[in-house]
């Protein structure tokens, strides 16, 4: 399959008054078209920074990111982002939040409205088009976040612990939902999480990051068929194996 994203020797060091802090060290990875890649790491291992560099929201100290062979030099609609803290515009309705990106890019009103309605249908928010973010539950807000990321018709979706703030049961529900949405309209996904169970449930492949400075320690293919069962013995074995390789971030 075609390679979409490639990171070459990415390094990131922050220079502050208190000295230097090395956050990422020699990150090399590549993602194939329509692959669901999970990057798994403990708290504060630099995984969000890595995702931000791929998104073009942050610059690397050295190394580069290539999207279909071209170097990434800043954010672009080709890379849609789903944030942990969702960041919806509180004064805009669900549909206006989803339409915001296309509107700023000058997509005609009729086209963008039609597409937004399709996306609302896809993420299962029918009937909430005119609702404001404060009227929605955490899971529903994240559905808007996912629809908004799809609205720019990106080649690649970058998800930064999108379910980190949800309770355990809503998280299971949203994990099923994200796969349902992804199966309907496949994209390349890079999904960052600290949750081993979530990584095994979602990923075609799981990369394990070390503690600071973040490096990629290990890689697992998860060839299990979807939908996966959280308490299936093979599933639990993957979980245990990966758990042994992840570090404890006290």
């Amino acid at each position: 399959m075609k390679e979409i994203i490639k990171c070459e020797n990415l390094c990131k060091t922050f220079f502050t008054e208190d000295g230097e802090e090395e956050v990422l060290r020699n990150i090399n990875l590549s993602v194939k078209e329509n692959e669901f890649l999970v990057i798994l790491g403990p708290g504060q291992c630099g995984k969000t920074i890595l995702l931000n560099i791929i998104a073009g929201l942050e610059t690397a100290t050295s190394g580069r990111v290539l999207l279909e062979g071209e170097e990434v030099k800043g954010p672009s609609p080709e890379r849609g982002m789903v944030f942990q803290r969702i960041a919806l515009m509180p004064w805009k309705t669900v549909i206006d939040n989803i339409e915001l990106g296309p509107r700023l890019r000058g997509v005609p009103k009729k086209t963008r409205r039609k597409e937004a309605l399709e996306l609302i249908n896809m993420v299962g928010l029918n009937g909430f088009e005119k609702a404001y973010p404060h009227e929605l539950s955490g899971g529903m807000k994240q559905r808007v976040g996912i629809a908004r990321a799809y609205a720019s018709n990106p080649k690649i979706l970058l998800m930064d612990e999108p379910f980190g703030h949800l309770d355990a049961q809503t998280r299971y529900y949203m994990e099923e939902e994200i796969l349902r949405i992804w199966e309907q309209d496949k994209r390349t996904v890079i999904f960052v999480t600290n949750n081993i169970e979530e990584a095994v449930y979602l990923g075609d492949r799981v990369l394990i990051m070390s503690k600071l400075p973040g490096t990629i320690k290990d890689e697992h293919q998860i060839p299990m068929e979807r939908p996966r069962d959280y308490t299936d013995q093979a599933f639990l074995e993957y979980r245990q194996e990966i758990s042994e390789q992840t570090e404890l971030a006290l």
Binding site: D167, Q169, E176, Q233, R239
Partner: protein, 262 residues
């Protein structure tokens, strides 16, 4: 059928072998027309580790707040050692979801705070503080301020602060909700170890069924709103428990079936 009978016998034996510490009687909580708790009845036994799980939005937090007397009950009563629960009389400890250390006090001062309010003798305060700090591994952080700690460490200070009070009951509202899984298991092991050492009565509320099965001696399963107790399960798996163990998975699946809405 046989399995059902054996689980009922297990439940009866469990209850017979223990002393009642807290009795919750016909507890009702309504906000205007919205009935949240509908005649909740149960006992908590002395020194027990009880977990409560329920579907999202079932009123778990209201339930805990009423138990802690942070919210008044509409009807019904909570008895501790046979008398109506009273925060002035009883030691009711509370660990919230978000760490809640006093920001201008050091780790040690945070842990001593409650004991000083209760005016315990200085040597008793010293003894208990040292013991709990040692047990939870906080001794080397004693002079740190909360802002200098990671959130998991801060949550451990809160837990130490509660254990040190030797409370009548310790209420915990999903204290490890946002932490990564590996760290959560580490802290749960630490909590179980501390509980085994000091044996307070713990009521632990969580959304996470696996977490409940990992820790609890007994699990109460709540229904959707208006909340009642739907079922009750004894977890007599040996410790330390393993989430991949088939008998563990069986209990987890059973409880998941009872509350699954997603």
């Amino acid at each position: 059928m046989n399995q059902e009978v054996s689980s009922i016998t297990k439940l009866e034996e469990y209850k017979k072998s223990r002393e009642k510490k807290v009795e919750v009687r016909d507890l009702i909580k309504a906000f205007d027309d919205l009935l949240v708790l509908n005649e909740v009845n149960f006992d908590i036994y002395d020194g027990e580790f009880l977990c409560i799980v329920g579907p999202t939005g079932c009123g778990k937090t209201t339930f805990l707040n009423v138990l802690a007397k942070l919210l008044p009950a509409t009807e019904g009563d909570i008895l501790i050692d046979g008398v109506s629960a009273d925060p002035k009389k009883h030691n009711i400890a509370f660990v919230f979801q978000e760490p809640s250390c006093i920001p201008w006090q050091t780790v040690e001062q945070n842990i001593r705070f409650g004991l000083e309010i209760k005016r315990l003798p200085a040597n008793e305060i010293n003894k208990r503080t040292e013991m709990v700090m040692e047990l939870i591994g906080l001794t080397r952080f004693r002079n740190y301020l909360p802002k200098e700690l990671s959130s998991s460490l801060e949550q451990r200070v809160v837990i130490a602060r509660n254990f040190v009070m030797q409370p009548d009951i310790m209420l915990m509202d999903e204290p490890y909700g946002q932490l990564d899984v590996k760290l959560r298991y580490y802290l749960e092991d630490e909590l179980i170890k501390t509980w085994q050492e000091l044996k307070p009565t713990v009521l632990f509320i969580t959304h996470n069924i696996e977490e409940a099965v990992y820790m609890a001696e007994r699990i109460l399963i709540l229904s959707n709103k208006p909340t009642t107790i739907k079922s009750e399960v004894i977890v007599d798996l040996p410790r330390p428990r393993n989430f991949a163990d088939p008998s563990f998975v069986e209990v987890r699946d059973h409880i998941t079936d009872l509350i699954r809405w997603w």
